[in-house]
């Protein structure tokens, strides 16, 4: 802005107005922003739980009592359909087949396969057959995944994503939390 120099008598009186130079401050802000943008974490990864049920050595002090085996969901990945088989010990309680209708999400080379129908059916099956429903029950229903050895890992993840879609409330020490209804493990055969 223009101004008028009112002059000073022999330079004795200090000017009453002084301008603050904002240029270094703007430089500082821009360098800070550049640093934070370069070091920012843009990609977030998550995890899907699985559990290997490794049998441990028997406890000699514990009396062996015959316990009623719990119902376990066996999820078979087939070529054209999925098999949902509830077993209690060696007894097959129910068996349902779900067609393998995949839905592709994304575009180009980033297409992701999902199975929404499988997720819905798993939820229905759990509502009918699931044993652990109460929020105070900290145990989860077990699911054993049977897949061909040649199945690519991305398909297994798509199936796991469908398996972990149904959730229930669980009371935890730090408050109520929505947890998946199933805990998955792989079948060895």
């Amino acid at each position: 802005m223009g101004g008028v120099d009112v002059g000073s008598e022999g330079g004795k009186k200090r000017a009453t107005n002084s301008d603050i130079n904002m240029i270094p401050f703007i430089d500082l802000l821009m360098v800070t922003i550049a640093f934070l943008l370069i070091t920012a974490v843009w990609v977030t990864n998550s995890r899907i739980n699985a559990d290997a049920q490794v049998p441990g050595p028997p406890n000699p002090t514990q009396e062996l009592t015959p316990a009623t085996p719990e119902k376990v969901l066996n999820l078979h990945i087939g070529d054209s359909d999925f098999g949902l088989v509830w077993k209690q010990g060696a007894t097959v309680v129910s068996e349902v087949r779900v067609p393998k209708t995949q839905v592709e999400v994304g575009d180009g080379s980033n297409k992701i396969v999902r199975y929404p129908d499988l997720a819905k059916k798993i939820e229905e099956e759990w509502k009918q057959q699931g044993g652990h429903r109460d929020p105070s029950d900290r145990k989860l229903d077990q699911c054993i995944l049977h897949s061909d050895n040649r199945t690519p890992f991305k398909e297994i993840i798509a199936v796991l994503d469908a398996l972990y879609a149904p959730k229930r409330e669980m009371k935890l020490p730090d408050g109520n939390k929505q947890v998946p209804v199933f805990n998955m493990t792989f079948s060895v055969r």
């Binding site: 995890r47 559990d51 999400v105 992701i112 050895n149």
Partner: protein
């Protein structure tokens, strides 16, 4: 003063050199100064830039980035591993990392076996090198933290094209080495609901 700039009467003494000193703007012998003083000036050629809003923008951006800044950074993903994506996944935790790309098995960046032997054999098997490394890690953890229960958690970073046979073999080897709680690292998909 106006006689300086009239076309009819020219003052022969208008451009005489005067002694230096203070003078009123009306007596500056320049037409544009005279016009400005008289109120007939043209628009100034300099335009002032209002930087206040720009500085506000920079400050808000810095505050936002500072609040989302994470000093611990991201958990490194092996560059040869392309992770599959899933929606129903949980937050990542700090645990030993086993990466499986097309050919190699790595534990926290160190080579721990090859996938070729598993694929050639065609059946699930225990991977000795991986087993030994994970077992040593477990022993070391117990020595460092003797009073605490061992969590037994390991994270698998598996490339999306790796076969189920390799995944099962790694999974089972980790379980037998004392890591029964396995988590698969995936990319996060936004919620579809």
């Amino acid at each position: 003063m106006s006689e300086l700039f009239t076309r009819k009467h020219k003052n022969p003494h208008a451009h005489v050199i005067h002694k230096p000193g203070r003078r009123l703007m009306m007596h500056v012998p320049l037409r544009f100064v005279f016009n400005k003083v008289m109120g007939h000036g043209a628009r100034g050629t300099n335009a002032g830039l209002n930087l206040v809003s720009f500085i506000d923008f920079l400050i808000v951006t810095v505050i936002f980035l500072l609040m989302s800044f994470s000093a611990s950074g991201e958990i490194g993903v092996d560059k040869n591993v392309k992770l599959p994506k899933a929606e129903n996944a949980e937050d990542i935790i700090d645990a030993p990392m086993v990466a499986v790309n097309g050919n190699q098995i790595l534990v926290d960046g160190a080579l721990a076996g090859s996938t070729r032997a598993i694929e050639e054999l065609g059946r699930m098997q225990k991977i000795d090198e991986l087993f030994n490394m994970l077992k040593n890690k477990r022993e070391l953890w117990k020595q460092v933290q003797p009073g605490k229960p061992f969590p037994g958690v390991v994270i698998l970073q598996v490339d999306q094209d790796v076969s189920a046979l390799v995944v099962k073999s790694v999974f089972q080897t980790a379980a037998f080495a004392g890591y029964p709680n396995v988590s698969f690292m995936v990319g996060k998909l936004p919620s579809s609901q």
